[in-house]
């Protein structure tokens, strides 16, 4: 159960929202009643419309339902009027970074713009990691910070930092607003920029006097916003000539492969992707952020590519004669050594951002455009291919896949010693949730296990900090995802390292009754660090061992039900127990301490150089 926004624990009537825990206790009701009494006079007086009001109006106009925020000195003008806007649910996070990731998770799970807010100085710098995470993964995010009054800017005032200078290289655009009158335009522009073209984070820094100043400014229409941004005109339609060239490449190819990226999900082009793949009978591989672009049970869904991707997928890339890459950017985790990448392949590369094309690999057919429109255009132009015409190719790929799946099951074989194997845990979570939950990865081994073994069926069911690789992402991002898609179960899949970076948000989950289930896979190690130290650094395990607390006691101290499993036989029981909890719950999986993720492409190597098992250096 989640709280309905704007409800009132004392009367049930829509009313101002307070942040007293609405737990229905007499104490909470008493505090709320006292607060109302105190505010009654103030609120019944007609007050002027200030910058903070305009900000909230603008957010509501943009359809914002939830704001992840933490108060501070210079944004108190906002907190003073926040209660007058019950349309927006305010989630009081425990750290601004958590709020930023929550807004990110909300955006990725729902497809809408996520909004987070913090105060000046440390509040703003705490948001930086979350903003950078959104930037690297093209997540539509509006981050709002306060700043010191305009007259104090540049004076090293208390909690002053040049935050727009800091966020400049990690945002799609940013603003420093000194006048209340500018707020409506800036907020409207920020949302337009964040969600249009290639999405990304936009940061708005508002001085305290802009927030507190009186204003009569009106909100602009979308047309006015677009007219005011003459430098922002994303290309959506693929050029007909390029589409025709791409269709010719597809017609010629004997061993084509589609590489599906995050752009497919962002553009909501999953139906077009499937239709294109089926019409041309081309198997589909996906990047980490492209997971969910295609139902993994589809006959043409081939698998996850890259450094820890499936061996059969990487083999297919290395033997392909055509790669049709849509909405992905040939990241180094995907290509490995570019010189040996896909040596036989010509490349068709479609992306909405022209700067991504030709950045990492040279391509034969560049197409700038929105993934959905490009795919729709390609579907029109290509001739249908009968499955029988590709039978030899598809059969070979199927054989590779059978081999790869049989052998990759779990390089370390931890289960043979009766230890709990992380991939088994992940697979059971996928199965017991019907592959329909929102699964939020942290970073490291847990992220790769999730990507490989959970089994994904629908778009926006897999959230992962791919580009920045932000440890600590999963729990707060899952918090946002649960609010963005309340109709789906939400699971945070994390390791003991990442979990300990943002575990303060357990309190937010409990206080706001946000039903996130946390699967904490504890190997008492920084597992991916340990794996690299084992294989690349000759077993010099400096700082890989990571002692942690009793996680069940920790969760229970926050008031969160928690369960523990350390053998395979306990897995199903604890997953079901967590699912049965009304609200958040934590499951502590004590997994094998030395399990590795295989295959693995060592840094600087290529997709043909996968390590599949490791028993020490070769003699």
């Amino acid at each position: 159960m989640t709280m309905t926004k704007g409800d009132d624990p004392t009367t049930g009537a829509p009313a101002r929202r307070s942040h007293v825990p609405a737990d229905g206790t007499a104490e909470a009701a008493r505090v709320e009643a006292a607060r109302r009494e105190m505010l009654r006079d103030v609120r019944t007086r007609k007050r002027t419309r200030i910058g903070a009001d305009v900000l909230m109006e603008a957010l509501i106009r943009q359809g914002v339902e939830v704001l992840f925020s933490y108060p501070g000195g210079v944004i108190l003008p906002i907190y003073d009027i926040l209660g007058d806007y019950p349309e927006i649910r305010h989630v009081l996070v425990r750290h601004e970074q958590g709020g930023g990731h929550a807004a990110d998770g909300y955006a990725r799970a729902s497809g809408r713009v996520g909004v987070c807010m913090g105060t000046s100085g440390p509040g703003a710098t705490n948001l930086v990691t979350a903003i950078a995470t959104a930037q690297l993964d093209s997540v539509p995010l509006v981050a709002i910070t306060g700043n010191v009054p305009g007259a104090l800017i540049g004076k090293d005032a208390f909690q002053e930092i040049d935050i727009t200078g800091i966020t400049l290289p990690m945002t799609k655009h940013n603003y420093l607003v000194r006048e209340a009158d500018d707020i409506p335009r800036v907020v409207a522009e920020a949302f337009h920029l964040a969600r249009s073209g290639r999405p990304g984070p936009v940061h708005i820094d508002l001085t305290k006097d802009a927030l507190a100043g009186e204003t009569h400014a009106e909100h602009p229409s979308l047309e006015q916003v677009v007219a005011g941004l003459p430098g922002f005109r994303p290309t959506l339609e693929g050029h007909p000539r390029q589409l025709k060239l791409a269709a010719q490449e597809v017609a010629r190819a004997k061993r084509p492969l589609i590489l599906a990226g995050h752009g497919i999900l962002i553009a909501e082009a999953c139906d077009e992707l499937r239709a294109f793949a089926e019409k041309a009978q081309i198997p589909v591989a996906w990047t980490l952020l492209g997971i969910g672009a295609m139902d993994e049970t589809h006959p043409l869904a081939y698998g996850y590519m890259g450094m820890h991707g499936w061996k059969h997928v990487n083999r297919a890339i290395q033997s392909a004669d055509l790669l049709v890459a849509i909405g992905m950017r040939f990241d180094d985790r995907v290509t490995g050594n570019v010189r040996t990448y896909a040596p036989y392949a010509r490349i068709v590369h479609a992306d909405i951002d022209p700067a991504e094309i030709g950045k990492n690999v040279a391509v034969e057919v560049p197409i700038v455009g929105d993934a959905r429109r490009v795919l729709a255009g390609l579907i029109r132009l290509i001739d249908p291919v009968e499955p029988v015409d590709r039978a030899a190719y598809l059969d070979e790929l199927a054989e590779w896949r059978r081999e790869s799946e049989a052998s990759s099951w779990h390089g370390s074989g931890a289960w043979r010693d009766g230890l709990l194997s992380a991939d088994y845990v992940v697979q059971r979570i996928g199965e017991l949730t019907g592959h329909d939950a929102t699964y939020v990865a942290d970073v490291g081994q847990n992220q790769m296990w999730l990507a490989r073994y959970a089994g994904f069926r629908r778009p926006r069911s897999h959230l992962s900090s791919g580009g920045l690789g932000t440890m600590g992402y999963s729990v707060p991002a899952a918090m946002g995802a649960a609010l963005g898609r309340p109709d789906k179960e939400t699971w945070a899949i994390t390791g003991d390292g990442g979990f300990q970076m943002t575990s303060q948000e357990l309190m937010t989950l409990v206080a706001d009754h946000i039903p996130v289930k946390i699967a904490l896979m504890d190997n008492k190690k920084l597992g991916m660090i340990r794996q690299w130290q084992e294989i690349v650094y000759a077993g010099n395990y400096h700082s890989a061992h990571l002692p942690g607390p009793d996680f069940v006691k920790l969760a229970e101290a926050y008031g969160m039900p928690a369960f523990r499993a350390s053998t395979p036989g306990e897995v199903d029981g604890v997953i079901r127990a967590a699912q049965a909890v009304d609200g958040p719950a934590l499951v502590w999986f004590e997994i094998a301490e030395e399990q590795n993720v295989f295959p693995m492409m060592p840094a600087g190597k290529g997709l043909s150089d996968l390590i599949e098992t490791w028993g020490g250096p070769e003699e």
């Binding site: 727009t164 400049l168 290289p169 799609k172 655009h173 420093l176 941004l229 003459p230 430098g231 922002f232 005109r233 061996k311 083999r315 290395q318 033997s319 570019v338 010189r339 040996t340 990448y341 896909a342 040596p343 036989y344 951002d353 022209p354 700067a355 030709g358 950045k359 990492n360 690999v361 040279a362 070979e396 590779w400 081999e403 790869s404 799946e405 049989a406 052998s407 099951w409 390089g411 370390s412 074989g413 289960w415 043979r416 010693d417 009766g418 088994y424 697979q427 059971r428 199965e431 395979p568 036989g569 897995v571 043909s608 390590i611 599949e612 098992t613 490791w614 028993g615 020490g616 070769e618």
Partner: protein, 215 residues
């Protein structure tokens, strides 16, 4: 790599969904029938030369910072940068010169286009151009060298802006190469101080970068 751990005949995996461990796959990369492939060429590793970019931007606070920050972050080294207003309200013009291969500079222009305040980026390196740069040089003089220096300046279409007993201030204008040439001549006498504006350029003929602004 050592042996396959799935084959040591120990306990079976737990019940449930785990597939049986199979034998290791034969390690054969499928090589298509045709010849061994050439290594993929990395973008931006070709031969570098001087490029001139004209960038039209919205005249907003911080826009210069955005452009210079982007060039730094993307690992491009700007040789010169000249910024001024245009005759259009709210629009400024930057002229950037930098070295790099064509692919790398094309990447730089695409990255510049991502900036919301950037209206147009044009690489005019290959175009017919009027190119001009202004330099001021304070040159050391003595009684015996003054006349010679002034002669050189006159012959090089420079101008003397200030004369003092031990130095003169020279104005040099022209293309980057022309200014380079005069500065090189003066260097022999001793340059106490040198400042250059960086190149500004304009297309020859009727073509106008401003009028071609993206709508």
């Amino acid at each position: 790599m050592s042996g396959d751990p799935a084959n040591d005949g120990r306990a079976a995996p737990p019940p449930g969904s785990m597939p049986p461990p199979g034998p290791p796959p034969p390690h054969t990369e499928a090589a298509p029938a045709h010849v061994a492939p050439p290594a993929r060429v990395l973008p931006g590793t070709g031969e570098g030369h001087r490029h001139v970019l004209v960038v039209l931007v919205m005249d907003r606070p911080g826009v210069l910072n955005r452009v210079s920050s982007l060039m730094r972050a993307r690992n491009f080294n700007i040789d010169s940068l000249a910024v001024s207003r245009t005759d259009r309200d709210g629009i400024s013009r930057m002229t950037l010169t930098l070295h790099g291969d064509d692919v790398a500079v094309e990447q730089a222009t695409k990255q510049l286009y991502r900036l919301v305040d950037v209206l147009k980026v044009q690489d005019v390196t290959a175009d017919q151009l009027v190119e001009h740069e202004l330099a001021l040089a304070k040159v050391r003089v003595t009684e015996s060298t003054r006349a010679e220096i002034i002669k050189i300046i006159e012959l090089s279409h420079g101008r003397v802006l200030d004369i003092a007993s031990e130095s003169i201030v020279v104005e040099a204008t022209g293309t980057e190469a022309e200014v380079d040439a005069l500065v090189a001549l003066l260097r022999g006498f001793g340059i106490r101080e040198l400042v250059r504006t960086g190149a500004i350029v304009m297309l020859r003929g009727a073509g106008s970068i401003e009028e071609a602004l993206k709508r």
